[in-house]
Amino acid sequence: MQPDLEVDGVTKRYGGLPAVDGLSLSVERGSFFSILGPSGCGKTTLLRLIAGFLMPDAGDVRIGGRSMRGVPPNRRPVNMVFQHLALFPMMSVGENVGYGLARRGVARTEIVDRVTSMLKRVGLPGAGDKRVDQLSGGQRQRVAIARSLVLEPTLLLLDEPLGALDLKLREHMKIELKQLQADFGTTFVYITHDQSEALVLSDRVAVMNAGRFEQIGSPQELYYEPQTPFVAGFVGANNRLPGRADRIEADIVDVVTTAGLTVRARRHGDVASDDNVEAFVRPEAFDIARDATDLPPSVQRFSGTLESLLFDGANSAVLVREAQSRTEIRIALPQTGRLADLSVGETIAFGVAPSRVACFAARNDGH
């Protein structure tokens, strides 16, 4: 099937420095695609290139198979939900939603009909006559999305629209956005610096750093199979253990960390003996027990002192100081509540299977 969006080798420079550096991606029809990266990584520039507010220095953007070279934003089959929504305060809610239709010269009665049914679909029936400032943050969000979707764009771009909302509403809007996308079947391209938003919402995620993509994949792939140390460190919580590769046997590397801890890890990419490496272990990859004999037989075993308890319901974790190297390690507590009675200062045993420790060659640029 024809992808709705193809970005082909797009580069944009500001004063000689590339903000977006030879990026390519392809987004399937009807999917929810996220671009995830820290602030300043170039994701907003990429979005503005797709929307047409910027023109690429090299490469091409194709939407629905059509090249967008020289096509201004008001003629692209793309609409955007802005970071602060940019609802028109001088218009009513209905006029906001109907603005694009009116610009297309749709008849007045048809505009009224389509605006009414669109407001109903986003759960705001009868809000057409309200002023924008009479709506709550979540309702404004829905108006901003309705204003774009009423034009039936091939692609809806969303520029961190949840950033300005408080935590509780943000969690709620995340679910709502996903449901809206499923209802309408429109292709969404969503940019965010919040990895949890990207993981929860998306079918596929591109992790972006310094103008380039680190990895494009499903949320599960990014989480369980990170291809670069940046992705391993940025997506989800991770214990990062920098060190040196010692003995290598098939895919298993003995990593000696700078603190002196030896961990057996699975090799990702090119790692040779004596290379500087970074090992990553997810907090939930550890097995934890009061007594080392309770750990599964296949894991490498460590022991340490419990330094602090981070209780957060099902996401509770402990910080453990490993006995020999004094390395601080974050370990998730079993969600069954089995070890809920641990207390600070206790000596505990923990272990991790080598397959669940990821070893990458360290980057030269300090990452």
Binding site: M80, A86, R103
Partner: protein, 294 residues
């Protein structure tokens, strides 16, 4: 001026009175009292030396004498035209300063707007006369370029008065416009563009409604300044300028007919109030909003 007396102790009330005192002295002493005096003056007529009686004679003279109301209407019309021209010229410049210029060039442009006001209005207007009079710079240039055969007199036309008035008023239009346009979020323009708007529709539906209080504030100030201007119309329009402030001046100073001058002054006040009220009504603005924005 929003003075919030939430701590309504006797001391804070004294402080409030002291803070307001200069403004109140100014308002009552220089505006309210003279106007009461002028109002009383305008409603009396001299029947014999030092003998006066209440009368509407001054206002009747205004109606009976075509020259007076003709001047009155002409002043109002030219002031409206001058305000519209000022707005049309100031808007693109204000847009450039508020939305396009950055950093140093922006500060420079603002200073450039201010520079004409470093010299007095009389000197500025004389500058226009040097440029435009028959033996002046511009007519001579026109002859040398072969556009006219003999030097033409560019002074003493209505257009000349307009040029002078617009020039004098520009800054007072620019400042409220710049502040109104600065507060317009660029994302709104981008959003409108993204939803299919084009330059003209965005200007009409997004920019003008947003800038409306600034436009109204600038227009009110410019209109009032223009209507009450004396020097520019007199110098650039010459004897035939027929500006209403000139009539007031003539009554007070030349004719020494204070009663007639007071009546004319009141009529001018009524005129500016009526036109401002009408303008606000037509554009759907409220005076309070306008003053806060401007």
């Amino acid at each position: 001026m929003a003075t919030d007396a939430t701590v309504a102790g006797p001391r804070s009330r004294v402080a409030l009175a002291l803070l307001l005192a200069p403004a109140l002295v100014w308002l009552i002493g220089l505006i309210v009292l003279p106007h009461i005096e002028l109002g009383l003056l305008s409603f009396r007529a001299r029947v014999a030396p030092r003998v006066y009686e209440a009368s509407l004679a001054q206002y009747r003279t205004f109606i009976d004498e075509p020259l007076y109301w003709h001047t009155f209407v002409r002043t109002a019309m030219l002031s409206i035209v001058a305000t519209a021209c000022t707005l049309a010229i100031a808007f693109p410049a204000a847009w450039y300063i508020a939305k396009i210029a950055r950093g140093r060039s922006r500060a420079m442009l603002l200073v450039l707007c201010l520079i004409p006001f470093w010299v007095s209005e009389a000197v500025r207007t004389l500058g226009w006369m040097i440029l435009l009079r028959e033996s002046g710079v511009l007519p001579r240039l026109l002859v040398e370029l072969g556009i006219t055969i003999a030097p033409v007199e560019l002074l003493y036309h209505d257009a000349t008065i307009l040029v002078g008035l617009v020039y004098t008023s520009l800054l007072f239009m620019m400042v409220p416009l710049i502040s109104a346009l600065e507060s317009l979020d660029d994302a709104l323009i981008e959003a409108a563009y993204d939803l299919g708007g084009n330059g003209w529709s965005i200007f009409r539906q997004i920019v003008v409604p947003h800038a409306a209080p600034g436009i109204a504030a600038g227009s009110i100030v410019v209109f009032m300044l223009t209507l009450g201007n004396y020097l520019t119309p007199t110098l650039l329009g010459g004897k035939n300028s027929l500006w209403f402030t000139e009539q007031i001046y003539t009554q007070f100073i030349t004719r020494f007919n204070w009663e007639q001058g007071a009546a004319f002054g009141f009529l001018l006040l009524l005129l500016s109030t009526a036109i401002v009220w009408l303008g606000l009504g037509l554009s759907g603005q409220r005076l309070g909003d306008v003053l806060r924005r401007g």
